[in-house]
Subunit: 795 residues, 2 copies
Amino acid sequence: MHTPAPTPTCTTAELELIDAWWRAANYLSVGQIYLLDNPLLREPLAAAHVKPRLLGHWGTTPGLNLLYAHMNRAIRDRDLDALYVTGPGHGGPGLVANAYLEGTYSEVYPSIGTDENGMRALFRQFSFPGGIPSHVAPETPGSIHEGGELGYALVHAFGAVFDNPDLVALCVVGDGEAETGPLAASWHSNTFLNPVTDGAVLPVLHLNGYKIANPTVLARIPESELLDLMRGYGYAPHVVSGDDPMTVHARLAATLDAVLDEIAAIQRAARSGGAVTRPAWPMIVLRTPKGWTGPKEVDGLPVEGTFRAHQVPVAQTRTDPAHRALLEEWMRSYRPEELFDATGALLPELRALAPRGSRRMSANPHTNGGLLLRDLVMPDFRAHAVPVERPGTGSSSATGVLGGLLRDVIVANPDRFRLMGPDETASNRLQAVFEVTDRAWVAQTVPGDDHLAPDGRVMEVLSEHLCQGWLEGYLLTGRHGMFTCYEAFVHIVDSMVNQHAKWLKTTNHIPWRAPIASLNYLLTSHVWRQDHNGLSHQDPGFIDHVVNKKAAVVRVYLPPDANTLLSVADHCLRSRQYVNVIVAGKQPALNYLTMDEAVAHCTRGLGIWPWAGTADAPGTETGPDVVLACAGDTPTLEAVAAADLLCTHLPQLSVRLVNVVDLMRLEPATEHPHGLPDRDFDALFTTDKPVIFAYHGYPSLIHRLTYRRTNHRNIHVRGYTEEGTTTTPFDMVMMNDLDRFRLVMDVIDRVPGLGAAGATVRQRMVDARIAARAHTREHGEDDPAIADWVWPDRS
Amino acid sequence: MHTPAPTPTCTTAELELIDAWWRAANYLSVGQIYLLDNPLLREPLAAAHVKPRLLGHWGTTPGLNLLYAHMNRAIRDRDLDALYVTGPGHGGPGLVANAYLEGTYSEVYPSIGTDENGMRALFRQFSFPGGIPSHVAPETPGSIHEGGELGYALVHAFGAVFDNPDLVALCVVGDGEAETGPLAASWHSNTFLNPVTDGAVLPVLHLNGYKIANPTVLARIPESELLDLMRGYGYAPHVVSGDDPMTVHARLAATLDAVLDEIAAIQRAARSGGAVTRPAWPMIVLRTPKGWTGPKEVDGLPVEGTFRAHQVPVAQTRTDPAHRALLEEWMRSYRPEELFDATGALLPELRALAPRGSRRMSANPHTNGGLLLRDLVMPDFRAHAVPVERPGTGSSSATGVLGGLLRDVIVANPDRFRLMGPDETASNRLQAVFEVTDRAWVAQTVPGDDHLAPDGRVMEVLSEHLCQGWLEGYLLTGRHGMFTCYEAFVHIVDSMVNQHAKWLKTTNHIPWRAPIASLNYLLTSHVWRQDHNGLSHQDPGFIDHVVNKKAAVVRVYLPPDANTLLSVADHCLRSRQYVNVIVAGKQPALNYLTMDEAVAHCTRGLGIWPWAGTADAPGTETGPDVVLACAGDTPTLEAVAAADLLCTHLPQLSVRLVNVVDLMRLEPATEHPHGLPDRDFDALFTTDKPVIFAYHGYPSLIHRLTYRRTNHRNIHVRGYTEEGTTTTPFDMVMMNDLDRFRLVMDVIDRVPGLGAAGATVRQRMVDARIAARAHTREHGEDDPAIADWVWPDRS
């Protein structure tokens, strides 16, 4: 069951030019994989012309080049603003080849000129020490998508076109990638795309039939089933298949015109007013052989059209003259002499096939989003400050307060800020945003639906992969955003944040790449308050995961209350080129700092809270006997309450409380740009006194960050020890030995010389824990004396 | 477009009994969420009868109960061997209620009897401190699936039925979960299910329309599109929808009979011989209201059938008499007096609706896989040993050697071992397995396909989520397996391994749960040898991630060569209740230990290699001046080569080489069961000499594991610092300062008193690095003197 042949739209002469571009791109692709020298094959290929290690992937490349060549024709004909998302990023040589043919490559890398020397350098550098990676990468002009881990091509494409109504993202989805979960889910992105204010994604499912050694699922189910699947995903599929180049050229050109006409018609209809409904956007199924135009057979085994074409189809080209002859024959089959002139430059009639300037997909500014980045208009976060007359006495929902700021950010930036989250915006107490916007939704609505509209700035889908991928695409094309997520489940995108952090790290060293807005995470519904859930929803390890990335790109903030969260969020939203992780609670919790104090505290990143201890009150100069340190809202509550207990029961003890907002301050300055100098660290944490550190996450992270500090041997950390269930908040901290009573016991156990007084208080703490647990188990809620504790007035 | 109404198969009397069971389950579900006391409503509901904190999820529960009731009827009628996979695991109260009605709950928890006292205890314990979690959890009899993170219901169901030809897994997929990537991809599992030797999965896509605050995508696309989607996924969909209980009962009963007939017919046909083709397995779309039978309206807002029914539909039942009256009315609507007798026991005619014994889904032994677990028949791994005459002189591909052992494991265990991997079995050099088996594949094949067959023991799909989920389902139902994966991309399943590790941790404390086989990872194609790829494929952080889980369940092994890999693999495959991570290379690499030495070394977990140093040769008693430690194959190579350089250039230096296989040996014995006692650690690593540690992954992990050790301040770690691209193996280690020359420089920098000799050698190392880099950049391959280095014969 094939789609009926579309009406031809190109002359044979035009198709022959497209074919010539395609051959040129294929030639350059093979050259990159194989050659060190003799780039134009001016002499017979010798062993010394061939790279000793052949590293790259041919299989997917001719298909990518084919689509590039055809898309260029359509861009010229229609003056399209288009970019190319390469799902099969292994086809790096293809995208590099097209950028070179378009002239962009030589513009950004002047050492790779558009002549024979340049071509030699182009070939040599590919997958070569000191050169460029084998995959589509940040180094590749025109790419917003690293061709490493598969699954994110479509979400990146959708993220790119949100709020870019005139942009078309051609998105090639390999049939290998199509087997991944994130890709499978991302077809449904069309339910969130507004045909009025967003651009269009044109997915091309490229079935070349094989992964590394296996056929692909979608290439081997009946075509009727495949078309049902695409219709089920909400698309209008068009099939192009074949292995005869000129036949495929004709069908593909006509199909591309047909689908671009469909897209234009959809957008025209939607933009002419009236209700916005979800159209059936067109998509293309392209079925061509793997490694098309490559060697048909090597050493008696079929290669073209099989899994053997995946990487390097003919491998012994340096040592085996027969293999080398096969390579030479293959490269000459593209007739380079008809493509490049005597200097090695592309012939003028082929150069003319490239769109002009920024219409070239390799030079489209959307693919270097920093160029288009406009600062967020930032409303004054201080306007949302909660009043704090005395620390630790009044309560707010930190994220509830932040919701007000985010609402104002959305109003002030109607075209360049989006909030992503898996259906948790309201659950995370950010519902103030719904005073000014809705959830993006372009499917059926029914009475009673809550804030759904095609132009909503909030994107909610029960897929962390989609939230992350959309936001990445949105940021990479020069916009801003925030991803709010349950802390435990953000691990779902561990591998995606890896790839994004690596992208940022690499682009920091690419001069022509302009900085983009940071990727901001707000992790709320955190480990300590999974009241409705339990162990499965408790995991604070994302922080550990992020901290493994390059120090230059990662930042972690644990604001203890509402005002510090406002200050941190303002800072993160203004920043560039970082992955910012903010962890903050959504439940009502004590406020400690006024807005001015919060700004000062967040600017320092950590500091002493003199009111919460006895060591740092004005007039006290003896220094502390013990430091209570804390990071995170729940640990801060317990540490402050422990300080109160110590003050009450062991007034002779000199206690210092240090709160940490910016976790990276703990690392040595040599390891992280935010690292506190050792002298300052020693001043805060002493060089020899016990430090009891109440930390939000896994205790080992604090040790890992501080092991080089003078006083590390005295740092004793309490945190999450993987103990939990559906229970009360105080039962949770008790289960993990992070509770105020345990912290006091830790102090007593580590401060020498407390004698009988210490022993008495310690026993009181043991009793208090037993009583607290008994109360909880009997009543099903925490003892109000604990749950409603506030900092006492000692005035 | 609805499916035509199926032929009725139940009498009205039967349907009324099913309805009574459903009401009983709903009653018990509501009771669990709300009540502390007065379980049978013998008196008017008072505030004291209601829990102070209402934690749970009602919305999905009535649908789950409905399917349970109907499935029981079918099990009885057909003597089915069935289990129930609860995708919407939030519906914990429902599954607990059914297990209680079936009697299983009281069998495994005798304190929860089948009378009024038992019911009171059942209600009280739910989401209560000291009680049970709110979700379906390991504590829930009949579950193999924790209801925390969504996305894995279908893969678990498929994993459960592989090699269980008579098993039917009813798998409820919530329409929220259906938006996730892993779930979307897992529909394609039917391409890997052999209708002859595997059982059947019956997916029920339960459209109740809403997530937390949003409608779901699949509930709001046109039904024709939804059915296209299901057909596109390869299924034959049957729709049941409605909100009138008796009408839905009739339709569901008839539909269930129809689909179970279809399944039986498919299996009969497939098992009667002839070619195996992929059938269109039936599935059900069930469309019923969210929170069905709950309050229609609360405080003037609609609840039943809306997102407001998600958690606790009426919340102020303790403080607001009107709310409490609504709750009482709701509970009485189930007519408990018609369901339970005066003692609180389920009426006999309803008890009779439960299947008998192990036919009860809550007591099906497949859901407590350890009960069915049979040891793997383990061939002698020593038979695969590579000969090692002198250490560090001959080479093998470690995974290539392991392939032989895995081949023999497959032969010896044709019905209980599977190898999973995303299309990388051959790429990872395990191709020996294809001498005896194939890749599981039940779609089209064409000439030239490589080892595809319906009964293959190797499962390859380009989705780490599917590989992981299938394997989890397979292990949880009492079988064995291994997941081979690119090291960088195993982060894709970070969150899944979290959930599985939590399951293992919890089941360790549940006496009636029998231990299951370990989840074994083989991470090859590791960070150091991404020759064809680059930075995107380089990330050794999965080890860090796993180490955050409970020490009781995680193990990490870094065998340095082929024979140690054999020994480690044998150990892991025999083990129970662990997550075992094995990291090993696939490229040819030096062999160091004979089989006997390897066994001894792996048994110790770490140890001195006397031949590789000068400090521990027989007759040397002075102790080392420096310790070179190493973990991982590439770091071991560099450390051994560094030892050689030191021996040659600084013969006066006493060098000890310590290799670590079992990473957890580094942790203190108080922190991990494998932890080395401090005295032993000090004996190996000294208490005061410099330790240069060459480690496979991020250096911080070694510090994190060793910070409590006496000599920690002298441990200097080299590892992966997130520097890499597509380049040569030695360029990779140089980029990350892990190379032999750098290690020698580190030694010189840290051992005092080496004077001029040290300075001279240090300069030589600097020059060697420059020369090595220059060679690589010029030739595109490593200097053969480095690449082909072997341990010299000093005899």
